[in-house]
Symmetry: C2
Subunit: 420 residues, 2 copies
Amino acid sequence: MPIKDSASDASALTNASDIFSLIATGEAVSRSALLERSGLSRVTVTQRLNALIAADLIEEAARTLPSGGRPTRVLAVNRRAGHVLVANIGEAHLHLALMSPEPAVIAQSTLRYEVAEGPAATLDKIADGFRRLLSDAGGGNGILLGIGLSLPAPVDYKRGRVVGPSIMRGWDDVDIIGPMVEHFGVPVYVDNDVNLMTLYEYRRHFPQADDMLFIKVGTGIGAGFIADGKIFRGAHGASGDIGHIQFDSADAPLCRCGKLGCVEARAAGWAIARDLRTRGFKADNARDVIALVEQQVPEAIMMLRKAGRVIGEVTADVVSILNPGLIVVGGTLARGGDFLLSGIRELVYQRGLPLATRELTIVLAPPQADIALFGTGQLVVDNAFSPAGAVALLNRIASAAARSPTGRSANGERSMERAD
Amino acid sequence: MPIKDSASDASALTNASDIFSLIATGEAVSRSALLERSGLSRVTVTQRLNALIAADLIEEAARTLPSGGRPTRVLAVNRRAGHVLVANIGEAHLHLALMSPEPAVIAQSTLRYEVAEGPAATLDKIADGFRRLLSDAGGGNGILLGIGLSLPAPVDYKRGRVVGPSIMRGWDDVDIIGPMVEHFGVPVYVDNDVNLMTLYEYRRHFPQADDMLFIKVGTGIGAGFIADGKIFRGAHGASGDIGHIQFDSADAPLCRCGKLGCVEARAAGWAIARDLRTRGFKADNARDVIALVEQQVPEAIMMLRKAGRVIGEVTADVVSILNPGLIVVGGTLARGGDFLLSGIRELVYQRGLPLATRELTIVLAPPQADIALFGTGQLVVDNAFSPAGAVALLNRIASAAARSPTGRSANGERSMERAD
DNA sequence: TTACTTATGTATAGAAATATACAAAATGAT
DNA sequence: ATCATTTTGTATATTTCTATACATAAGTAA
């Protein structure tokens, strides 16, 4: 009865979201793990899993796990099953990428732009860039899982909007998700770049940490926080704004935010560059500072050390308040290594209570470019593979299949073959 | 077929945890809401709900909700279905209570004790006190939902142990849950008192807030934080330790923790009492300070105002880091009202970025004694009524019924009556 | 090779949940 | 009083899931 078969297959597929999510999030990598974690019966798991495999969403990996008996077959999301589109909006350029679910870059492009262009034109430019990436890459692989945008501003994540005045002039409270959904009809996520860097460091390098503080020390200073495995965003998406915590002192420098004595004005890339310029060096931003440090210029090294202690002071406060188990220091100035880190460590261990610091690890982020972009990809994939996201995804696939009566997927025959 | 009926009833009851949890947490108060929220069919919801009503766990409230048609019947947990036992361990006394699920006190007692007695003897003393409360109250109502302990020390909530050196000398890393479970065979929860005060303020007075910061200003200073509706506890349960954040200054006072310039040493009840004594007043703790403030003693008022500004300084940092939407100030010194609050407000709005403070509300906690004790009851009830807790609870009820073949509950007849 | 172990698939009967349809109840509005 | 409206209960046939049992697969260790 081929008709009934394909009907039950389709329902098995849309009901397979729990199975899919367990595999995709790595919570269960084998059939037996699926049985345990899902609480479903062996028959049901087998049936749903077969539907996922027939639809080419899940595949058996080549490797197996030793078990003492028959080796466990490892299940994984088919990396050609889907892709994501991400954009990192900087101050002077847009960095776009088509990514696989790992996430890894399939294709990318960089576009010039200025904040002055405003949100509508910029979002159109991004949509155009996305379409070009897709067509250049032959349409990508499989289904478009979702779209992500990284912005250098506070973002109300739930509403997907920039909140408050920021570098992104003209974007305050502008709807970003709406236009992008209209263009592509897939889930769209928007977040602050530091949050996304934090997410990527966590998921890629420190997945075992439950709580993690990420400190970005670049031209500006910001922090992101992972609590209980999730990004902590605060009430209005403005959490982690440690750059503008003030310290009193006689010579408190003026910050670009207009206040006196902010951490940024004492320790950010722009502040160090400012101080180096007064000493006759040529330096405009964090990259110039690091270049001087790498040339072993004593003044630059001294200032980086001093910046470390300033950041350490505020980090000690953060440690008292949040009690993280791990602190990861990234951003351009983190390339300065121990010159930056030693000062942070010094102040944190000096000021923190023994309890909060006795099992605290402070490390440098492994050097890697474009962390925010990868983090954006990770965010989209995490959402697509979450239980709720998986439901939506499989519904999307099912309705797409219903519209094109040529078959459920590119592999209609294969599913027939399996169904027998 | 009465035999089959009662068997299917029993299975309907243990499967009813999802329904129970929805009602108990207030997520669904009517049958139609249950249908929507659970995603189950009408028949299934009706069957499970009947099992819960037959077991006297859920009842129909007298009031109904207008709907335009037939009024909606309101469902609620039968307040006589269960009770909790809670203990607040202070520095010189144990405060025990038997509570209903609201939570409201059914019976209570206060026992003298000293920290020097050590954990084993203290836990025995608590268990004895609990048993006396139970027998005095005629065994409480219904099933014992769980037990909760509030401690004036950092607690690793997941492990249920005090972590690090603290006022609770001798308790570091001692198993608390094990002995109590052995005594009573029910779930046991242990948490820090400030966290529990935070939980109660949130659930009772500000349930609509997603993110909330609670600052306790008493003899000591501490903070608790609600993130996304849950207590945020940090990696080792030491989050919220704002009392020992340091500010540099020429005259930095010595803190009882051994460091210089801590917030506590400048603004806590013990520090104000210390300063009042040097001026010839008699004051030992926060209560004495408030007594002087209420007598309009100018020096006391001045010092409370100053303390407010110190707390405001550290609160401004917390706001930058966490970006809460609501700050609630409680503890003994909060009875000082605006004398304390104005300084906090002043510094927070002065130092915080516009974005973080533009929708920030800072309020006093409504005066109420024993908030920590109520918070402990709330914690136990919240856990018992959570989806996972409801599963365990109903299993416990089912196995208790299986052991006593006289009936599922005290109301066997009634369930028969309903079954027909 | 053979025995042992764990992983995995499937047939069958039975249990549980659903969809659908209808009926009855309880209120306000006309 | 009658009607419209919403809530709530239940009977029926059907679908879906489970439990149980058995069979087979694919390694390791003797």
